[in-house]
């Protein structure tokens, strides 16, 4: 057993690439972005209205506006790369993107992989897009029933474990929503804010968001883990602080037709300049 242990440990050490935490700041990402004059930001392409493709095929949305503001402030060009929930952290780890603003919920185990810096720029909870015909009102009603979801969402597991739903997790939103329209499941478990945006789009007549919103969870943008407590991480904290303080996020929320959230109003209040008129 001891020999086996030694061998496995040796193998694990051999394979681990990011195990060593940076003790000193080398600011690699920051320096590369500044010298290349271009920042690569990973955003969503299927998450209206935070990150999606418009009719011309361009990536637009609230998070793209945020990315643009970051690039403008740094004085560099912006390049957008579309990421998915299931690969966004890997893209950042591998250096394919410099910054990730991709509707990611801030979770403890994610903080171990990528450099998450506060203050959180948004928050959302879990709800269900479900047909009105089923007259749902509480989560317990989905017990033992098929519920569509999307691979990569942390609340799939919660709904499965807490309420005994059978989660059918698809790779993309489009497939999951199609399965719901095909009546293969009783609902689509997703972020309440995104469901509201869907309902507002008018494509979902006869559907509603019947459950009490659960597990309100702040969203986080992320820089590479090594940059977390260095220039880039500190800079992104500052960006978010200012977005809250001067009401930029509330304006964007308005612009993209997102239902005003109490969280943003509270944060705006909290960071108000005490000398402001």
């Amino acid at each position: 057993m001891k020999k086996f242990t030694t061998m496995m440990t040796a193998t694990a050490v051999l394979f681990s690439t990011t195990a060593v935490s940076a003790a000193e700041c080398t600011n690699d990402t920051w320096n590369r972005v500044m010298s290349a004059g271009k920042i690569v930001v990973g955003v969503k392409a299927d998450y209206k209205p935070w990150g999606f493709r418009n009719t011309d095929g361009d990536l637009v949305g609230m998070e793209i506006d945020m990315a643009q503001d970051v690039a403008d402030t740094m004085g560099v060009e912006l390049e957008l790369i579309s990421v998915q929930s299931s690969n966004r952290m890997q893209f950042l780890e591998q250096g394919k993107i410099d910054l990730m603003i991709a509707t990611m919920s801030d979770r403890a185990d994610r903080r171990e992989i990528v450099g998450i810096v506060g203050p959180n720029y948004y928050t959302s909870g879990t709800n269900l897009l479900a047909p009105n015909a089923l007259e749902f009102s509480e989560w317990e009603q989905v017990r033992g029933k098929p519920v569509c979801g999307k691979q990569g969402a942390f609340y799939n597991q919660i709904v499965e474990e807490r309420y005994g739903a059978e989660i059918l997790a698809f790779t993309g939103n489009a497939e999951a929503k199609q399965a719901l329209r095909d009546k293969k499941c009783v609902g689509f478990v997703y972020d309440d804010s995104s469901i509201m945006a869907d309902l507002a789009s008018g494509d979902w007549d006869g559907f509603g968001m019947p459950m009490p919103t659960e597990d309100d969870n702040p969203w986080a943008l992320a820089v590479p883990k090594a940059e977390e407590t260095c220039v880039f991480g500190r800079f992104m904290s500052g960006m978010q602080y200012n977005w809250h303080k001067d009401g930029t996020l509330i304006e964007m929320e308005n612009k993209w037709g997102i239902q005003p959230t109490k969280y943003l109003a509270d944060q705006n209040e909290r960071y108000t300049d005490w000398l402001a008129e």
Partner: protein
């Protein structure tokens, strides 16, 4: 012993944040791995059996006198062999799935009679079956005409000739190529992931979505699991090949 192993992997996870073998010490995650593995095994075994049946029947139909029957088989092969299995799965489940009869347990839900697992079996079996038809055809063509003529001379019907003379010989020629295709089939079952069939890859990705730190170990586990699965298959096929060997026949 079990505790020691669990403790060992807990320690690795603590020391190396990207090597969290969570499924070795958390029962719920282990349950997912086991159920995924079981689904993959079921899917593989059923698809292998169906694809073999399709292959044999298809090869027999290719030798039919009727031109329409031969054309149908040819069309089937061209369609299933020349389109990506990924697209086939999506098309079958979403497009064709809309036309299958459904029943409704609660007045709204329309549960199709053919589930996503059912469509995966159908789609993957036909996909691998198309290759099997061609493999068996090659085997059939390798059987000398004189042998067939001899069986005809003995008064065998066409079907009897195929079943008792041509197929047993063709099978022996086909085994190596068949081996390759079935190995591919087992690996292709991972694509059932797109229609949410909870096989091994689906469960693995679910685990690493919930626990990002478990991605590397999970991928490593996937490699080992498929090596083992395919290893068993190849071992069985080799054994079969040896047991069917006719001294002096073939190479």
């Amino acid at each position: 012993m079990l505790d020691a192993i669990q403790e060992f992997f807990r320690q690795i996870a603590a020391d190396h944040p990207t090597w969290n073998f969570i499924f070795f010490y958390e029962e719920r995650q282990w349950g997912k791995v086991v159920s995924g593995l079981w689904m993959t095994i079921k899917l593989s075994v059923i698809c292998v059996i169906f694809s073999l049946i399709i292959g044999i029947v298809g090869a027999a139909m290719q030798g039919a006198r009727n031109r329409i029957v031969r054309g149908l088989v040819q069309g089937y092969i061209q369609f299933f062999r020349n389109t990506p299995p990924f697209v086939q799965l999506l098309f079958f489940y979403f497009a064709l799935g809309a036309f299958t009869p459904t029943y409704s347990p609660d007045g709204w839900l329309e549960v199709p009679i053919i589930s996503n697992v059912g469509w995966a079996v159908i789609s993957l079996s036909f996909f691998a079956g198309a290759f099997n038809v061609e493999i068996f055809r090659a085997g059939v063509e390798a059987v000398p005409d004189s042998t067939q003529e001899a069986s005809e001379a003995l008064g065998f019907t066409r079907l009897q000739t195929f079943a008792y003379v041509v197929l047993p010989l063709a099978l022996r020629v086909s085994i190596p190529a068949l081996n390759n295709n079935l190995v591919n089939l087992v690996k292709t079952t991972t694509q059932a992931f797109v229609i949410a069939v909870p096989e091994l890859l689906y469960q693995a990705i679910t685990i690493w979505n919930d626990h990002p730190s478990a991605q590397n170990p999970m991928m490593l586990f996937l490699f080992v699991a498929y090596l083992a699965l395919v290893g068993f298959l190849v071992l069985g096929m080799n054994k079969w090949e040896r047991s069917m060997r006719i001294p002096g026949y073939g190479a």
